[in-house]
Symmetry: C2
């Protein structure tokens, strides 16, 4: 943050003390991307002209007053794409090669040969066609998987997805997929899109991978689908409650891989987040268009978007 401290007066604060620190502030860098403190402190934002968040998903700061304001919101698009795509490929391979069973047998010192699965030729449906979904599609395609996307609008010849189908056709395309990857932004339109009907539409051999947001999923429906073997497994990095409570039945379901919202967080990610913010600070001070401006109605950064600071 040193370079930013040379350019501006910087206050560091916590969620609890945000209201006090927000008085007189021109810009806010939301480091804790899950915090809902901004909504509570909003009354104290007397001269706020810019909010930046250290994440790709912006749902915690898209409360109605923020959406209605003219204050631009920017996110950290560009930091997470490649590492998150690697994580998704990793869990695809973990399922196909049955690493969880290998590790379990290893703990018991049991040598038990099993047959595994190829990933080449299998089908992935990536739900969410933003930069992260696109990076996932590119990587899965690079290893020989057949990829399609679910996005806002249909596209016939997308370079990464091939076909992108519109969201209202989700259930039409779920039955084709061996792997369903949830990476859509959390918006009123996507909340709970993975529900009992969605899981019922999937193959009994399919695996569900959530690297988007926990609230894309109706968790009791996912639990029921896993318990009834409506689907074959799930890799979950995000949850409707985080940390995942110790008494959640998800922890101990067979064929479920749990990780603690870390899929994109490779060594150096904190530096990358601060560098992206520092670059935007430079643009902001020069009154040039900011990078990664969120369309607050859509709830994410439309491709190629940039904006001038407000006020």
């Amino acid at each position: 943050m040193e370079q930013i401290e040379r350019l501006a007066h910087v206050r560091y604060t916590s969620g609890d003390e945000l209201a006090e620190a927000l008085v007189g502030a021109d810009a806010l860098f939301v480091w804790d991307f899950q915090s809902s403190a901004l909504e509570r402190a909003w009354h104290a934002a007397d001269r706020l002209r810019w909010v930046h968040i250290a994440s790709a998903g912006v749902d915690p700061v898209l409360f109605p007053a923020m959406v209605d304001s003219e204050i631009p919101l920017t996110n950290s698009r560009g930091v997470f794409e490649s590492s998150l795509a690697e994580y998704v490929l990793g869990v695809v391979l973990a399922f196909a090669k049955d690493f969880a069973t290998s590790l379990e047998l290893q703990q018991q010192r049991i040598w038990r040969h099993r047959e595994s699965e190829r990933i080449a030729g299998t089908r992935a449906l990536v739900v969410g066609t933003g930069p992260i979904g696109r990076a996932i599609a590119q990587l899965l395609r690079a290893v020989g998987m057949r990829v399609a996307g679910i996005g806002r609008r249909a596209v016939d010849d997308d370079p990464d997805f091939g076909s992108v189908y519109p969201s209202d056709e989700l259930r039409t395309h779920l039955p084709d997929a061996d792997y369903v990857v949830a990476v859509a932004p959390l918006t009123p339109a996507t909340e709970g899109m993975f529900n009992a009907a969605s899981f019922a539409a999937m193959k009994p051999t399919a695996r569900f991978i959530n690297v988007g947001r926990g609230d894309l999923v109706v968790t009791p429906d996912l639990l029921a689908a896993l318990q009834a073997k409506t689907i074959a497994g799930a890799a979950l990095d995000v949850f409707d409650t985080e940390p995942l409570p110790a008494d959640s039945p998800l922890w101990s379901l067979p064929n479920v891989l749990i990780s603690p919202h870390m899929s994109a967080d490779v060594k150096g990610w904190r530096n990358a987040l601060v560098e992206l913010f520092a670059d935007n600070v430079q643009l902001w001070l020069q009154e040039r268009p900011l990078r990664n401006v969120v369309d607050k109605q859509l709830g994410y950064v439309p491709t190629g978007a940039a904006a001038r600071p407000a006020g």
Copy 2:
């Protein structure tokens, strides 16, 4: 095997009864690729003209009398390449994304965020440049890793490896690698090539992946290197003794992933092995050149090799 039974009189036998069954046999299909039964039964091979093995590695049937004979040996090259490459990519990602710790914490219902690693830009040294090594190189390169090979002869501009360095330069190139993949055939030249000096040449952050043969490695040296943290981890699918004995210290070393010689065995692999043999039976009956003829001096199939049946 039905199609073969229509073409020839087929006897099925076990290792113990091989000598009896071998009398009068023209061809032998060695299904148990780890069996040393052929050497013990060799005296009974009164008219044997062809041996085929259901594996890529041929070390168990390359005993001196077989090497010295004019009987051609063919292997199952073509069945294992792609699935084995996927397995190697899977363990690379399992290390980079620290899946073993995630699974361990999951069992304890502990939510603990950690930072993981990118694989793009990391360096893999693939030791063995046959078809399996080549498939591994292609796949690792497809996901953005930097790959080099160790082979019999130096090559400057190999399409898959970029650079192939000769085996006697192994230790010169080990220090560059983040992942060292052992996939060389087991021959007198490669036996024990991964010894204390090799591990000492590797980075302390490097991972060693053995999908070749257990005897490529001096196991006590590998154990010592893992215990002393000379290297950061190992993924082992093959062992000098298989099944790996329950009292082997390898089972419980941290950062070691054990699998039971299954890396290439995807659903349908047995059928693929029989089909390859059946194709060769057709060629053999027509006295046409066989596929996958092993150079018994080298101990593997040189690129593009074919041969007519002997006798």
